[in-house]
């Protein structure tokens, strides 16, 4: 029992990342009808926003401390981040420590700008082209973004620590009446899950309860009629693209402490997220979220030793096997509707 709970918990954080990326993909697909293979790159850019802010805050100046010497006997050079110089050591240190949560604020305008530029500059020209062309051009864009990041940040993963307050793990087992230390779960992963839940809830609430969201949903259902009613639906869809980019970016920012960002993390997640979208059903937002969590949890169950000893290697392929089975049993995906992407 405790092992099962542990695996469900373990699946939640990866599932949250899948769900957030798949949500953005589905938003773009549902509104603009574009298959965006560069969405993983947006996730990666988000993670590198966190890295950049961390590096930026750690920019330091050197002072010579004459009272202390290093091992060669020279006066010790002390590196002090500018932030600590400006705000004093305590506040400065706290700001650096909290760089990842701060990066959320830092990344939102960046991601929205990136989304706008992408949509206006490139994707706009591909609305009427076949899906194959959209896949190919965004695939090319993903390569370009990935290589640019590689060029400036190098090929190695960059550690981006979470705030000290969230280091360590929470003992779920003790709380729920199991033996202590059987179910422990890192604080940051809990936060990631809560964060993802808030974002997903926010996006749904935005679409459900605001006038803007209502217009967008109407546009998703019948773009032409909404256009005939005198509403500039293209402008709203562009904003939705920016929103989807921001969702992917935030997923990336918060994921940075869980998995040190490297330049190909976007591609790694993209393939899986596409599988998630297709399993959930193209164009279905609840489907994307449900499939994201489902596949995340499935993946963590498959990596249990008990299961691996029955079917070796299942942890590597379980998502793909699940996708194949689901697509063959329910060709439109779990919650897919008739008439979406049928051609």
């Amino acid at each position: 029992m405790d092992a099962i709970i542990l695996q469900i918990l373990n699946g939640l954080d990866k599932g949250s990342a899948y769900a957030l990326i798949a949500l953005g993909l589905t938003l773009i697909f549902g509104t603009l009808g574009v298959v965006n293979f560069a969405h993983g790159a947006l996730f990666m850019i988000g993670a590198f926003c966190a890295v950049s802010l961390n590096k930026l805050l750690n920019l330091s100046f050197e002072t010579v401390d004459p009272t202390r010497t290093d091992f060669l006997g020279n006066p010790l050079k002390v590196k002090t981040p500018y932030i600590e110089g400006w705000f004093g050591p305590d506040l400065g240190h706290a700001i650096i420590d909290w760089s990842v949560p701060l990066a959320i604020l830092f990344s939102i305008p960046i991601m929205i700008a990136v989304g706008f530029i992408m949509e206006r500059g490139l994707i706009k020209h591909f609305y009427r082209r076949p899906h194959a062309d959209q896949i190919l051009v965004t695939f090319g864009l993903a390569i370009v973004l990935q290589e640019l990041i590689k060029h400036y940040y190098g090929a190695n993963p960059i550690q981006t620590p979470a705030p000290d307050a969230f280091k360590g793990s929470f003992d779920f087992g003790a709380m729920m009446g199991f033996d202590p230390n059987t179910i422990i779960y890192p604080y940051w992963r809990m936060i990631y899950f809560a964060f993802a839940a808030v974002i997903i809830g926010g996006v749904f609430a935005f679409l459900q309860f605001t006038t803007f969201g209502m217009v967008v949903r109407a546009g998703m259902a019948d773009r032409e009629t909404v256009g005939l009613l005198g509403i500039n639906i293209d402008k709203r869809f562009t904003i939705m693209f920016g929103l989807a980019a921001a969702v992917a970016g935030l997923a990336g920012v918060m994921y940075a402490p869980i998995n040190s960002p490297n330049y190909h993390m976007g591609m790694d997640f993209l393939v899986l997220s596409f599988v998630v979208v297709v399993v959930g059903g193209m164009g279905s937002l609840p489907g994307a979220v449900a499939a994201g969590f489902l596949l995340g949890i499935l993946e963590s169950f498959a990596s249990m030793n008990e299961i691996k000893s029955i079917i070796p290697g299942i942890d590597q392929i379980v998502i793909y096997v699940a996708a194949i089975v689901i697509l063959l049993a329910r060709p439109r995906g779990l919650l897919g509707r008739r008439g979406v992407m049928e051609d």
Partner: protein, 399 residues
């Protein structure tokens, strides 16, 4: 001639001439000149041109004719490589059984994957093939290690059985791949003035296979079967409404293109007997898509051009580094020189993939018909008459 009409036969002759004289054509600069780094006439690279040409021709039979975009074709290439290397390990170093086995195995593998994937169309098909390819890649890396040798890759060793051949040569080394005694590795060098032209047995073996593959592709394109595939591309629904089951045709196209990929994989292993899982990764699948698109999907010559173009520039661009750039722009004033070099160095050396991505975007955006369409447009622009001749020699796109 050979069951082809005049213009197709001319095309075949042009391709034949290009591959036969490739060691000369690709070697335009003397060996010791500064331009020698742009030469591509050495065996390893020429083999890659031809092998990826075969791969792209096969991919084009599926994508160009039926419009089904497979994102997992590299899996068949990988399976082909593994089968060929196993044949070298178990049977003999003759490449014929190895290539035959790799074509058969990849054909069977393609039949299995195709049977399942082709139940869906459009993006669902792309994702299904992608999922299968990733699955094969991951399995090859993890559980199937006894067959694939995991991360190290499958290699020949001195204690392989090789029932029909010899386990080790008299000198105690691993025997080399051969075609009934003709060693694939052997190279004749012809020195003429400052030029040195290399004629490699392996390259010519691949070239012959390419010509056969190309001939077969022309026959498929011009056959009623090819016509049926084009009909699937233009309107599958209408085909179904007329009471025709398109599944056998698309499946056949899928299997044929999988066999082409297996053939390419087998040849790759025959030239250099090792096989690794990274050949099956989805970026490798993306590469063949790119070659086909860049050359011109649905045209006969396009995929070969695209494969050659990408492999050539991959090789040349990777070699250029900062020093080379500085020596080129030496004449410019220092400030401008540094600026130019700073901009360009992003695109060369390890930045080749950046160039590739940009190229991909530009081609898809502005030239959906690829190089072939570009050539045709250029021809039309230059002279109306000339353009007509050009479309006559170059095949028209599938639609």
């Amino acid at each position: 001639m050979l069951g082809l009409n005049k213009k197709d036969f001319t095309l075949l002759l042009i391709v034949a001439a290009l591959v036969v004289f490739a060691p000369f054509i690709l070697n335009p600069f003397p060996a010791d000149s500064a331009m020698a780094q742009f030469n591509a006439g050495y065996p390893d690279l020429m083999q890659r041109f031809v092998i990826f040409g075969i791969f792209a021709i096969g991919f084009n039979i599926l994508f160009g004719l039926t419009g089904y975009l497979s994102f997992g074709h590299a899996a068949f290439l990988g399976v082909g490589s593994y089968s060929a290397v196993w044949m070298f390990k178990l049977l003999s170093m003759n490449i014929v059984p190895a290539i035959i086995l790799s074509v058969i195995v990849s054909g069977l593998f393609a039949m299995l994957i195709g049977y399942i994937s082709l139940r869906r169309t459009g993006i669902y098909f792309s994702i299904l093939t992608l999922a299968f390819a990733e699955m094969s890649f991951r399995l090859a890396y993890s559980v199937l290690t006894p067959i694939t040798n995991g991360e190290t890759g499958l290699q020949l060793t001195l204690d392989d059985p090789r029932i029909l051949g010899e386990t080790a040569t008299a000198t105690g080394s691993i025997p080399v791949t051969n075609f009934f005694g003709i060693e694939m590795r052997a190279t004749e060098v012809m020195n003429v003035g400052g030029w040195s032209f290399q004629f490699n047995n392996g390259y010519y073996m691949c070239a012959i296979v390419l010509l056969l593959a190309f001939y077969l592709a022309i026959r498929i394109f011009r056959s009623p079967f090819g016509m049926m595939l084009r009909a699937v591309k233009s309107n599958q629904q209408r085909m179904n409404y007329t009471g025709l089951n398109t599944k056998p045709y698309t499946l056949a196209a899928f299997v044929i293109s999988g066999m082409y990929a297996g053939l390419a994989g087998g040849l790759m292993a025959s030239m250099d007997p090792l096989a690794g899982a990274e050949r099956m990764q989805w970026t490798a699948s993306g590469e063949v898509v790119l070659m086909t698109i860049l050359g011109g999907a649905g045209t006969l010559i396009g995929p070969v051009l695209g494969a050659g173009f990408i492999k050539y520039f991959e090789n040349i661009f990777s070699k250029i580094n900062e020093q080379v750039l500085h020596s080129w722009f030496h004449a410019l004033p220092d400030g401008i020189e540094n600026a130019v070099v700073w901009v360009l160095e992003h695109f060369v050396g390890s930045g080749w993939h950046l160039t590739l991505g940009l190229l991909f975007m530009l081609v898809v955006t502005f030239l959906p018909g690829g190089l072939v369409e570009g050539g045709q447009r250029l021809g039309r622009l230059l002279r109306r008459k000339d353009a007509e001749k050009k479309t006559a020699t170059q095949s028209t796109p599938a639609e």
